[in-house]
Symmetry: C2
């Protein structure tokens, strides 16, 4: 299906050149599971002693690989990763659990490590049994081709995990850690917050920094809240959402970190946040049918969580998203979405800006505001909405895209 779709008009100009991450080796292969003529299998080996952190979908019908990863994560250590596209291995019952175990064992055999050190993710059709032999039979060959995780390898990896994505997604950073430079590289897939018959959002991030597993998990959980948990395309949540962060520590001379608040971590935290936010925004930019990238900044809410919920209520509203598609600065719909969020709001303190211009202040429309600059802003590819709730210190920014005929066409007119 992705082959039929034009590249999103909001796509970055090209795939970025990602840094080599020490201690990570990658390879891809074509299993023919669903797609023809393209790679759909990614395997990664990470150095002995690598730590791992993860966050997963909150769905109560989570996929078999998600269930596996949640369990494996308790060990806090990783040696390998296997990812396939084309089949999500979700809603596949006990056979689905067995299929994951087969993939895991195939990789663990190559590494000669415990199965619980290996992680897995699957993305694609829901409810179809995974023909796991098509994957496991490839593992010895693809493993023999593992190569250092350099810029070329990341590009192949990002392409192998795509489903309905119209462009491959990657982001990277180099950052000073104590006296040495460490690297972060991440790849992601997803178009639509989720398209569950081509499920779902996946992101894999690697660093050669040396960070203990429990601290890595805290870093990831905080950063995901302000990146992947702050984006929405269509309010639907997939069975397979997975973010994994692996840290190899494969560079000598790094500082020893004993707390998430260690001052040495400041630069790394910023870099990690940048990488995750960049990847999350790329998913929005590939939102099904998207023609506009929308940032919704909320301040003055009761607290940060309330601000994010208000932001998501605006960003998920079909009426807000269609009015932006129509380049109509219909701020009444923003008021509606604030009101339905369920968060504490005082109508008479609410102010709204579009493109930096006030349209409503203190609960009423601004008298005789100049519509020309707002109308001009609505024609942009990037739309800024700011809401001041006016009652507290909570703030958050969320990102979404508009809701267009393209979304309907992709999800209703095409048949899977």
């Amino acid at each position: 299906m992705s082959g039929d779709l034009p590249v999103s008009p909001l796509a970055p100009k090209k795939f970025p050149s990602l840094p080599t991450v020490k201690g990570v080796r990658l390879a891809t292969a074509a299993t023919g599971l669903k797609y023809q003529g393209r790679d759909d299998l990614l395997v990664c080996e990470v150095a002995e002693g690598s730590t791992v952190a993860g966050t997963f979908t909150k769905s109560k019908t989570s996929s078999a690989p998600v269930d596996w990863c949640k369990k494996a994560l308790s060990g806090g250590e990783a040696r390998g990763l296997i990812v396939n596209s084309g089949n999500a291995n979700a809603f596949t019952g006990k056979a689905g659990d067995k299929a994951v175990e087969s993939c895991i064992e195939a990789v663990a055999d190559q590494i000669a490590c415990r199965p619980s050190r290996v992680f897995a993710a699957s993305t694609g059709v829901i409810g179809e049994q995974l023909l796991v032999e098509k994957i496991t039979s490839q593992v010895p060959d693809v493993w023999s081709r593992l190569a250092d995780a350099n810029s070329d390898a990341w590009t192949l990896a990002a392409n192998a995990i795509m489903t309905t994505d119209t462009f491959a997604k990657g982001a990277g950073q180099m950052v000073k850690f104590g006296d040495v430079d460490v690297h972060i590289a991440g790849i992601a897939k997803g178009s639509g917050m989720i398209a569950p018959d081509m499920a779902t959002m996946l992101a894999f991030v690697f660093t050669d920094a040396a960070i203990p597993g429990s601290i890595l998990q805290q870093l990831l959980s905080r950063s995901v809240d302000e990146s992947f948990n702050a984006i929405t395309v269509d309010s639907d949540t997939s069975t397979s959402d997975t973010v994994l962060l692996m840290a190899t520590g494969s560079i000598d001379g790094q500082p020893e970190i004993s707390s998430v608040d260690a001052p040495e971590l400041a630069g790394f935290k910023r870099a990690l946040q940048d990488v995750l936010t960049d990847l999350a925004q790329q998913i929005v930019r590939d939102g099904e049918g998207a023609t506009k990238f929308i940032a919704v900044a909320v301040k003055g809410a009761e607290n940060d969580l309330a601000a994010r919920r208000i932001g998501l209520s605006i960003a998920n509203s079909p009426l807000v998203k269609t009015s932006i598609a129509g380049e109509d600065a219909n701020w009444g719909r923003i008021v509606m979405a604030v009101g339905k969020s369920g968060e504490m709001v005082d109508r008479d303190k609410l102010s709204i800006q579009i493109g930096g211009h006030h349209v409503a202040q203190d609960g009423v429309a601004v008298d005789d505001f100049d519509e020309a600059p707002i109308a001009a802003h609505m024609k942009n590819d990037e739309i800024d909405i700011s809401v001041d709730i006016g009652i507290g210190e909570g703030s958050a920014t969320v990102w979404t895209c508009d809701l267009t005929h393209g979304y309907i066409s992709i999800n209703a007119d095409y048949r899977s």
Copy 2:
């Protein structure tokens, strides 16, 4: 705008013939507030001693008339109602509150009653000040034309409260109450669970049964949960949603009711539920761009509330709604929507039927199910989805419509 839109293909063949409700008098007028060449003002007088019950939007940015009604309702008694279409008087600050008071006073002057006995509702554009003199100046004349609430009067009333509706909505019943026949007649407006720039869902229901206010409120609250609270078009919640039920008691010989569980109420409860459900379903049938009416029945949930939340999660999912628009029995999207509901679910006990045919059972796809009858069902105007969670006794049914290019056209391509 409504004039531009074709009548929904899901509309009933004609407006029903509603029964005369004793003790209710109605009249309509044209104020020219927004629409030209049609009535947009409805006034009602109800007999002295009438009781009243109401349910309202949970929005934190509720409209000025909603705020008034919530306060007035504490008295439990009603004498009058005034409704305008074309302007929602929402997000209009203190001036909006004053505008409601002016309307209320104009009606209370005619009746010579306390203002707190008069109720108001407004529907239309958000954020524009209501030019209240256009309404109040009409009140003496329209009041002089009040006439018995017979079939013709109900038809005029239902038309006067329309905004983007493509057909007028009404439902009525006659029911034995003790030894006498009493009547229920209701009118509603709404297309889109809500289109907040043409806000919103309103329903006014009248009966000549004699029912104390506190019992009337309990009856209404229960019935609304299984009717208006069980429908969704686009998951957006308006600033103005209002359901008012007024009971005149204007027929002699009725039983005295002292409890909501009185056996004499059984028939009335069923009739009230039928009227509210009929009105609620008519709103879904007028959903913006709707081409299919969808019933989602959930059973086996932890409890009834969980069942309704799961049903609404399915009914609100853009991916489920677009697949139905595309006549695609994409049950993987239903699994996704069950999972994201947040309610208790055991993947391995979940079963799904479409059009009465199992597609998934006990957590996996049904092997080799016959796709022909399901494909035929998907071509119908009315789609039935049944989900059995398999863990408890909770059940609920909710109603929605599909998500089509028509919804995008109405909300993005047209400008307000």
